[in-house]
Amino acid sequence: MFRIKTNLLIPCALAVCSCADFVDIPGPVNELTQKQVLIDDRSATAVVSGIYSSMVAEGSTLGSVIQIAGGLYAGELDYTGNDDNYLQFSNRQLLAANSYVSRSWSDFYKFIYYANALLEGLTQPVNVTSATASQLEGEARLIRGFCYFYLTNLWGAVPLVTSTAYQSNMLLPKTPAEEINAAIIEDLKKAVALLPEQYVSAERCRPNKYTAMALLARVQLQLGDWQNAEANATAVIEHKLYQLEPIDRVFLKESQETIWQLMTVSPLYNTVLGYMFIPNGTATPRYPVAEPLLNSFEPGDAREKWTQVRTNTRGTFYFPFKYRVRFGGSPLNEYPVVLRLGEQYLIRAEARAMSGNITGAAADINAIRQRAGVSPLPDLDIASPLDTLAGERFRELFTEWGDRWLTIKRFNTRHKVLLPPMTELASRPSWVWPIPFSQLQNNPFLEQNEGY
């Protein structure tokens, strides 16, 4: 009988000692903790794969919102729908509560968080080969630089967040745009140094050294650093990996012009933009191409094939047709392009023109014009090289990553030229978007941008 009593008491006594161990459970089997993630090349690579996968996902800022909202705001596109949040963009009268403004802000910082988390993880002693570690650090820096480039060009001064510590990040005020730009340049230069020349995986879905250089050229052009912009663009243009493709092939996934593309992950789409731009049946295109852009095409410009006409009872509309497949399924033949060679020619042309190398600028512009099947300019119109450049960029890069907005902004700050549609708003042009209302609510140290 006594034996029974002790048998019962032993677990009781053990209980006292082992409670803490007992409730210390391992993590869930369908999720990992950070320590478990960066244990080898494969799991570490899964993190950047995750970032790209969420970048290109439906509804993501980088999937369609920047292209569409940015396109509406800069006059590339018109809007035929009745979503007030988009109407605010096409009317260029944004409210701080605009849902796309809010979503874009949050998405950019989400990707920055992912990149920061990966960079922090890589500083820990991990069992990742040095080649992979370099590749991943380069990619994380490139993603972070890419996001900050858009943040500062859309909002001006924004908080510069470089860690995952929410306790301090939640109270960060705006960082001046100059500091943001310096951080972008630093990230991209490190990415250039870290990334290999060859693409690390099939297709061009993960950045290599030239991707970083091409993005650096885009940033340096925006900042008026003509010399470095030209040098970086030249390095990309001269590399044998990249060739201009015929107009019909530019956005195909095998295009040799592509410097960086995101793989389409959802089986529902070929590209999200194709789905968004191409109307179903006889429906009215939701985001038709704006008239000034349509009118600027010269006769015979093959780039007119990047638009298509739709006529119905409401009228005749042209919609963007760079991506030509509306739905997913086979064959999956288009990937969303982030950086391509055509832009590098135009970057170099502008950098050369501003450095006084008009002949070189003309050659670059003509490379793009020839590919489009329009006659080369005999020499750049010296009287207005900027007009020529702006027009060529408009026709070449419309609906690509808010390029028109970047051009308008750059022309205003670097060339003191006001481009339409900002000319209509000369009295009070909004060069930045409003800081989302919810962000002001949740961070008392954030101040609203001027004009909102």
Partner: protein, 983 residues
């Protein structure tokens, strides 16, 4: 726990008790000890001749007395040659008798059951039992007979209105529908408010296992427990009763105990019942003429011309055709069949009970849809000859199968009345009609095993081990054939879900009871180890090669899988000290130290505890003068409990898989910001209560007042997105106060063959958000307001229909500043029991008053839209300038009027109404035939008619005051007839 359910023979027992009382003087025994005389005896229950532990035996007019021990025995000393003895026990009739001393034999006192008391005699907290008389806490008990009188399939339905402070809200009237349950209001802003459920000592999951919802929404997990197998349900409310559950006790505890074996001769019980049910009243809808009139008027109002594209109902469909969609879709009769058999026997210290049941309940939808449950329960045990070792084992298994559709068809009764069956272009209502071509099937399994090993090495000491495990599994399949879509697809699609929850618990305990003179001590210490594993996955499958293979995910060309697993571990030490002085003063101290895996390593442990006290002032000498007051007790308790109803792993920096792989590599991303240091929500409960009995306890009244303060609220605290995420789980010093009054009354009168008993419970509740730092700037700003309940809605103030424009108007300037509080103002239940000879009738009314959504809130669309029929009450609409009415003009949609409905009216206080309701929740009539057979081998036969929701008196204008949403099936009115055999 004592089984006191006594369906028959009360009168015989009474006579038996009287005869024993008369014989008392000769049954006594005397032991002379010094100058005093020792009175020794036992107190038994007339119901089953079992011992009654905890009964009070007092010498009137003196301090002498005691309560009976667990064998029903007592012993105390008196002086003198006679004594006026009062023997009382709650739930039984008090006996007053005069003893002539010395006694010659051991005194045998048999108490007959007092039918006016609907609650049981002993109450349990799961860790200890106490008599209601000496209890320091608030424990309500619902007995088997109260549950059995109701022909319902879900035991939670049977609890509606039965317990003060308990609110049970069914999601709809469909079998298997989920029930929201809360005890004494909502405590938590961001975490769970469900109580802790314990079934036979094992924690039971209170949340649904559904992942793919069917017509009934999420399936209630309680469908896997047969109400007929339940012995008692105890509801633990105050700190004294719940603090022993520590971090799990904040929202109260519900103990469900299944039927035990009884010793004695083998008995066989058989119960068969069958019946039918119909949906309670639903609103009368427009007929074809009225509907077409509404549509034409909508076009006129909007200045539009109907054409083939926007008015098929007016131009294409037959204007004479009429389909009563309501009758077709939800107007069918549901059939209920229930059969239960139990065998019980015991001898030589062994006892067992085996019971099995089958229930089938069809629903009111067309077709052969319905639910069924098969259940099996075994209880067996052994007591050693010396009474020192006891072993109790129970096992129950139930399989619940539901065969239904994915969507509640009630939403589809609003289809246009002239819509041809199978037509397209019917508007949103068509979706529901197509739902009939779809399938939703579930199979839920539940296994609960429990073993209790008790060892009593010496008198007063008891060592106990409670061990058990349970496993639940729910498999769901929903099938959407291609022709079930408005525009038929190339192939159908299906969803599959599997949820598995398994857990075990181990609870060693030791308790010691000793008394000395007027002092009695009960000490208990124990520990708990518990683990729960959750595994849920779903498969969404499409691209099937054949429609015949829709139920096989292997035949799908595309599948998307989700998986969710979690582990919960819980360990704690607990203890209790109970001190009773002269059976008048009781002090109860409880404490618990809890560790839970739901919290990070730094905050994993916390302490909880409570102090409870009771003063039985009715036993004081000076009370003898107040003859009308037969008993009185004042009790109070205060303590701290916690709420750990948050998800698992919230403190970890987890990475989850992205939905789609990228270049063949499945992505991994951080899923949240993590806060490793958050802790428990705490709930401080204060209660005091006065319990009194009048006129020999013919009327008993208790009044309880409670104040529960929930602080350290665990919330998703909003963060600026620059941190990468929108918020973080964090403790906030927000405080919620639940306070209220609970009044309970019982009375019983009898004369000759007739007896009447009544029991009333009445609750007044108040819920208030006391503090919420920086609420205005949080994402909770639009939902809560300091100083108001957690169940408020912040809405526009409704100002009526503009007599000029005919459109619903709200006060836009005031924004959403109007507040509607959906906390019930009061609620309660009144049950009555009438007996006349062999007839017995039970009536149960429940009532409530409070703000609820009115029917206008959930109209299928703004009135006048194509394809949406409306209640005829809407014919009282605005028609021309100057009309004064509360219904806006008809519109075809995309107009100011339709926006005014969807955007403003439904978000205004015009969409709410102050409802009061009195419902005859249950009526049960039974007749017991005279027993036949030889004594000891009698057979009894009883017939019973049971009705649920017979009638309702209410000011509520819509479908049903308890299920206010027009698209959900209202509760059912059910009538079943049954027979019970016992031999």
């Amino acid at each position: 726990m004592k089984h006191i359910y006594c369906p028959r023979g009360k009168v015989c027992a009474y006579v038996y008790a009287i005869s024993l009382l008369l014989a008392l003087p000769w049954y006594g025994s005397l032991v002379r000890a010094q100058d005093n005389l020792t009175v020794q005896g036992r107190v038994l229950s007339a119901v089953d001749n079992e011992a009654l532990p905890g009964a009070s035996v007092q010498v009137r007019g003196s301090n002498q007395g005691t309560i009976t021990d667990r064998n029903g025995s007592f012993s105390f000393t008196v002086t003198g040659s006679s004594a006026n003895l009062r023997v009382s026990f709650i739930g039984y009739r008090t006996i007053d008798t005069t003893l002539t001393l010395p006694l010659k034999k051991e005194l045998l006192l048999v108490l007959s059951q007092d039918a006016n008391v609907l609650e049981g005699v002993t109450v349990s907290t799961g860790y200890w039992e106490t008599s209601r008389r000496l209890s320091t806490g608030n424990i309500a008990k619902v007995t088997a007979s109260e549950i059995n009188n109701q022909p319902v399939g879900n035991l939670l339905t049977a609890l509606q209105g039965r317990v003060a402070g308990l609110v049970v809200t069914p999601a709809s009237g469909l079998p298997g529908s989920h029930h929201t349950i809360s005890i004494r209001g909502l405590n938590s802003i961001g975490s769970g408010n469900e109580p802790l459920f314990i079934v036979d000592g094992i924690p039971f999951i209170g949340n649904s296992l559904s992942q793919i919802n069917g017509a009934a929404g999420q399936q209630s997990p309680f469908v896997n427990i047969a109400p007929g197998d339940i012995e008692a349900i105890e509801v633990l409310k105050d700190a004294d009763a719940t603090a022993i559950y520590g971090s799990r006790g904040a929202n109260g505890v519900i103990l469900i105990t299944t039927k035990r074996a009884s010793t004695g001769k083998p008995t066989f019980d058989l119960e068969i019942s069958g019946g039918a049910g119909r949906t309670l009243n639903t609103m009368t809808l427009m007929n074809t003429q009225q509907y077409l009139q509404m549509r034409r008027e909508a076009f006129r109002n909007d200045g539009l011309q109907p054409n083939a594209a926007n008015a098929a109902d007016l131009l294409t469909w037959n204007p004479e055709h009429y389909t009563d969609w309501k009758k077709l879709l939800i107007g069918n009769t549901a059939f209920i069949g229930d059969i239960r058999a139990a065998f019980s026997a015991g001898a030589n210290g062994n006892y067992m009970r085996l019971s099995g049941g089958y229930r089938k309940e069809t629903n009111v939808f067309p077709g052969q849809l319905g639910d069924q449950r098969m259940s099996l329960q075994l209880y067996s045990g052994h007591v050693s000859k010396d009474n020192k070792i006891r072993l109790d084992f129970s096992s129950q298994y139930a399989l619940y199968q539901s065969n239904s559709v994915p969507q509640d068809l009630t939403g589809s009764i609003f289809a246009a009345p002239n819509m041809p069956v199978g037509s397209d272009g019917g508007g949103g209502a068509l979706e529901g009609l197509l739902s009939l071509r779809r399938k939703y099937r579930t199979a839920s399994h539940n296994l609960i095993n429990n073993l209790v090993l008790t060892y009593k090495p010496v008198n007063g000491l008891s060592l106990k081990l409670n061990a058990g495990f349970n496993r639940m599994q729910m498999d769901e399949t929903s099938v959407f054939p291609k022709e079930s879509y408005e525009i038929p697809r190339e192939s159908g699609n299906s969803n599959f879900g599997t949820s598995r929850v398994s857990g075990w618990i181990l609870e060693p305990q030791a308790s010691y009871v000793f008394s000395k003179a007027d002092h009695k001590w009960e000490v208990m210490a124990g520990a708990t180890f518990q683990e729960t594993l959750n595994n849920r996955n779903t498969i969404a499958a499409s691209g099937f090669s054949s429609e015949a293979l829709l139920e096989s995910p292997a035949a799908a060309s595309e599948t998307a899988i989700t998986q969710n697993t979690s582990q919960y571990r819980y360990a704690s030490l607990l203890g209790r000290i109970n001190y009773t002085f002269r059976y008048r003063y009781v002090l109860n101290l409880t404490g618990r130290r809890d560790g839970s895996s739901r919290f990070g390593p730094e905050n994993r442990f916390a302490n909880f505890g409570a102090v409870g006290a009771a003063w039985l002032f009715g036993e004081e000498k000076w009370m003898n003068g107040l003859r009308f007051l037969s008993s009185g007790k004042l009790r109070a308790s205060y303590g701290l409990t916690g709420n750990d109803r948050i998800g698992d792993y919230q403190y970890l920096d987890t990475y989850g898989s992205t939905q789609y792989p990228y270049q063949g590599v499945s992505g991994l991303l951080p899923t949240k910001l993590f806060n490793p240091v958050y802790g428990w929500e705490t709930n401080k409960k204060l209660e005091w209560a006065l319990e009194m009995g009048f006129l020999k306890d013919k009327l008993r009244v208790s009044v309880a007042r409670y104040q529960n303060r929930s602080g350290n609220q665990l919330l998703t605290y909003p963060l600026p997105s620059q941190t990468g995420f929108a918020g973080i789980t964090r403790n906030l010093p927000a405080t919620v106060l639940n306070s209220g009054w609970e009044i309970e009354m019982q009375t019983h009168l009898s004369k000759g063959d007739f007896s009447w008993g009544a029991s009333l419970n009445f609750s007044i509740v108040k819920n208030k958000l006391l503090a919420f730092p920086d609420l205005e700037n949080s994402s909770y700003a639009s939902r809560y307001q300091v100083g108001h309940s957690l169940q408020i809605r912040k809405v526009y103030h409704y100002t009526g229909v503009d007599p000029q424009t005919g459109i619903w108007q709200v006060d836009m300037d005031a924004d959403r500043s109007a507040i509607v509080d959906l906390t019930p103002k009061y609620y309660g239940g009144l049950s009555q029991n009438l007996k006349w000879r062999r007839w017995e009738m039970d009536l149960f009314f429940r009532f409530s008053r409070g703000w609820v959504h009115n029917y206008l809130y959930s109209l299928p669309a703004a009135p006048g839209l194509r394809g949406y029929n409306m209640p005829v009450t809407l014919l009282n609409r605005w028609q021309k300038a100057g009309d004064q009415t509360d219904i806006q003009k008809f519109t075809t949609g995309s107009t100011d009027a339709s926006r005014a409905y969807g955007t403003y009216f439904t978000n205004s206080d015009g969409a709410y109404t102050l409802m009061h309701m009195l419902r005859l929740g249950n009526l049960s009539v039974s007749y017991t035939f005279p027993a036949i057979g030889k004594p000891g081998k009698t057979k009894t036969f009883k017939t019973q008619l049971r009705c649920q929701n017979l009638f309702t008196i209410t000011n509520y204008e819509g479908n049903d005051p308890e299920v206010t949403y027009l698209g959900f099936l209202p509760p059912m009115r059910m009538v079943t007839a049954g027979i019970q055999l016992k031999f």
